[in-house]
């Protein structure tokens, strides 16, 4: 994950409390989405950025997951997301993101 974004997320978690934050991902493929979910919950596994060794415990959801999708206005979802949902490997992406969330998210 982008190092600048790691820094912003760390700062927001410290300022607002990690229990108040949720990260929403739009990743095109499973591995990168899982990596982002791992970074915001358990820390940066590549040890390259500000979240290296920092376990914020933030829950990350992909926008395709029902927990988020079901909250969104269906017309907005249809306009903004559904086309990508048709072409990407939704099941694999959700599996990867939810695995990291269930393992490391604290909230």
């Amino acid at each position: 994950m982008d190092l600048e974004n790691q820094a912003r997320i760390k700062e927001l978690a410290e300022k607002l409390g990690p229990e108040n934050l949720v990260v929403i991902l739009g990743g095109a493929e499973a591995e990168a989405s899982g990596l982002a979910a791992e970074t915001v919950s358990n820390g940066d596994p590549t040890f390259a950025g500000p979240l290296a060794g920092v376990s914020l415990g933030l829950p990350a959801y992909h926008i395709f997951e029902d927990a988020i999708k079901n909250l969104v206005d269906p017309q907005v979802y249809d306009d903004q997301v559904s086309m990508m949902e048709m072409v990407l490997d939704v099941d694999e992406i959700i599996k990867e993101v939810s695995t990291y969330r269930e393992q490391y998210a604290k909230f």
């Binding site: 108040n20 739009g26 989405s33 206005d73 907005v76 903004q80």
Partner: protein, 40 residues
């Protein structure tokens, strides 16, 4: 979920940040920041 604050990490080749932002705002979610990463 609705009372949480949201951080959006979109993907240029997947769902970009602004598209996710529209979704979150549609149910009244507060977006703290939204970005679109490029994994290429």
């Amino acid at each position: 979920m609705q009372d949480k604050k949201f951080i959006i990490l979109g993907d240029r080749d997947g769902v970009p940040g602004p598209a996710i932002e529209e979704c979150i705002k549609s149910f009244g979610g507060e977006v703290l920041f939204s970005t679109t990463e490029c994994f290429v």
